[in-house]
């Protein structure tokens, strides 16, 4: 059965996200080393651990509260390009959920769209620029399309995760036009974008959280 999207769900997602950043951080840093400055995994790890710690101290009791709390921590602990982008995206997504104590899968879609808009606005990138957007956009589309065609939350998040993964992989042949990787010009071609990869890990954490709940 599909889980309820309440604060507890988002806290379980946060735990899964933090765990995956700890586990996969080195791979993200390695990707960032090829076309950036070799810190993306370190940044994500620091940010999600700070968020987990902060939230553990005073657990919010709404989905919006969790996302706003995580976003704020990322803004004030990560730095770099990903801190404000990730942080603002989650903060605005959380704000869009208001103070409902649980939300629908459709409300989550709107929140994810808000996140995409936040990243586009702040970073000025378009799809195809080889940034995190290249995983976010197809992922949110796939999620919405799945809901539209009658899928439940767990199934739709699985589709979102698969699309994010593909989107991240599809950054490999692209030449970067935003962020640090753009300095490399053509030499950025042939490497997967670290930010798109971490987005895929986060969406996958959503999907796994839902599936874990559903399997219980």
């Amino acid at each position: 059965m599909d889980p309820v999207l309440d604060a507890a769900f988002f806290l379980r997602w946060l735990a899964a996200a933090t765990e995956v950043m700890d586990r996969e951080g080195d791979r993200l840093t390695e990707l960032d080393s090829a076309i950036g400055d070799a810190d993306h995994g370190i940044n994500m790890r620091r940010g999600f651990n700070a968020a987990s710690d902060a939230v553990a101290k005073e657990p919010p009791d709404t989905p919006g509260g969790v996302l706003v709390g995580v976003g704020r921590q990322l803004i004030s602990k990560v730095g770099g390009a990903s801190g404000p982008l990730y942080g603002t995206a989650l903060r605005r997504a959380g704000k869009s959920l208001g103070d409902a104590d649980h939300v629908t899968p459709e409300q989550l879609r709107d929140a994810l769209l808000t996140a995409v808009d936040a990243v586009s606005e702040l970073g000025g990138a378009a799809p195809g620029d080889k940034t995190m957007l290249d995983a976010m956009v197809p992922s949110v589309q796939a999620y919405g399309a799945a809901l539209d065609s009658g899928a439940g939350l767990t199934q739709a998040l699985a589709a979102a995760a698969a699309a994010a993964d593909e989107g991240a992989a599809a950054t490999i042949p692209l030449q970067a036009r935003k962020g640090r990787a753009s300095y490399l010009g053509e030499r950025s071609i042939g490497h997967q974008d670290p930010g798109a990869t971490s987005i895929a890990l986060l969406i996958d954490a959503f999907a796994r959280t839902a599936k874990g709940d559903a399997d219980e």
């Binding site: 070799a38 810190d39 803004i75 730095g79 390009a81 801190g83 404000p84 640090r180």
Partner: protein, 330 residues
Amino acid sequence: MKMLINGPDTVVADALRGLADAHPELAVDTEKRVVVRRDAPVAGKVGLVSGGGTGHEPLHSGFVGHGMLDAACPGEVFTSPVPDQMAAATAAVSAGAGVVHIVKNYTGDVLNFKMAAELVEDDGVEVEQVLVDDDVAVTDSLYTAGRRGTGATLFVEKITGALAQEGAPLAQVAAVGRKVNESSRTFGVALTAVTTPAKGSPTFDLPSDELELGIGIHGEPGRERRKMMTAREIAEFSLDAILDDLPPGGPVLALVNGMGGTPLLELYLFNAEVHRILGERGVQVARTLVGNYVTSLDMAGASITLCRADDELVRLWDAPVNTPALRWGM
């Protein structure tokens, strides 16, 4: 890779303690991670704040003091600081005359400083941003995040610092900063990759007989890799790129800057080639600074920055400055 550290996680905090121990004339808040002139806020003076990832020392903390920055915010290694730091620094130096944020053009620095400006403007502090983007190695700004901010940061911080110290108003201080940036161009090369404490191994592989041309200061690979060249050839290649793009005009300020791992001896040697070539091309050098100022941890290599400087800029360059890394006239 061996480093003189206690562990990768405490590098920034430990180094800030050491900075505080060495420089009682600076107020170092190791919690908030801001380094402030002890006499800040200076009554009536425009405040000057900069910041960026740690790993470029002495930039920026080493440029805090009379006649230069009022505060610096060191981020994690090669990671821009967070808005909280910048907001705290801005508040600490604000004397009511407004504050200039000197921001190197990197997505992270720009975004975080922007968020910080929003925070402090809510508290009524007027902020002007001066963006530094002098690195000619990044050419096509339509398809990139724009030119990086590198060596010219030193010129911008020194010259805005001098003008602010004289009591000039906010708009004028920001304007001279923009003018310095527009008049400056930089090109850098690396002979080795950089190793960050967290990663512990070089950020890219550079064969022992090749060099990277057009590197940044964060261990990013450059635009082009070539077989190793002589100092003269490297200077020629770099100056070609710079002079191609530098606005025409009179004399220049020259910064021959080490990336951290290159001995001073080689920097002076490189400076000889720079001067020889500029002489051949009829470019007059008004002032020269040689040393490790805008670095990239242990990276071997160097950058050249030229800034076209009229009499006013030269005067402000010569004005008294008293910081850990730059000090003259007082």
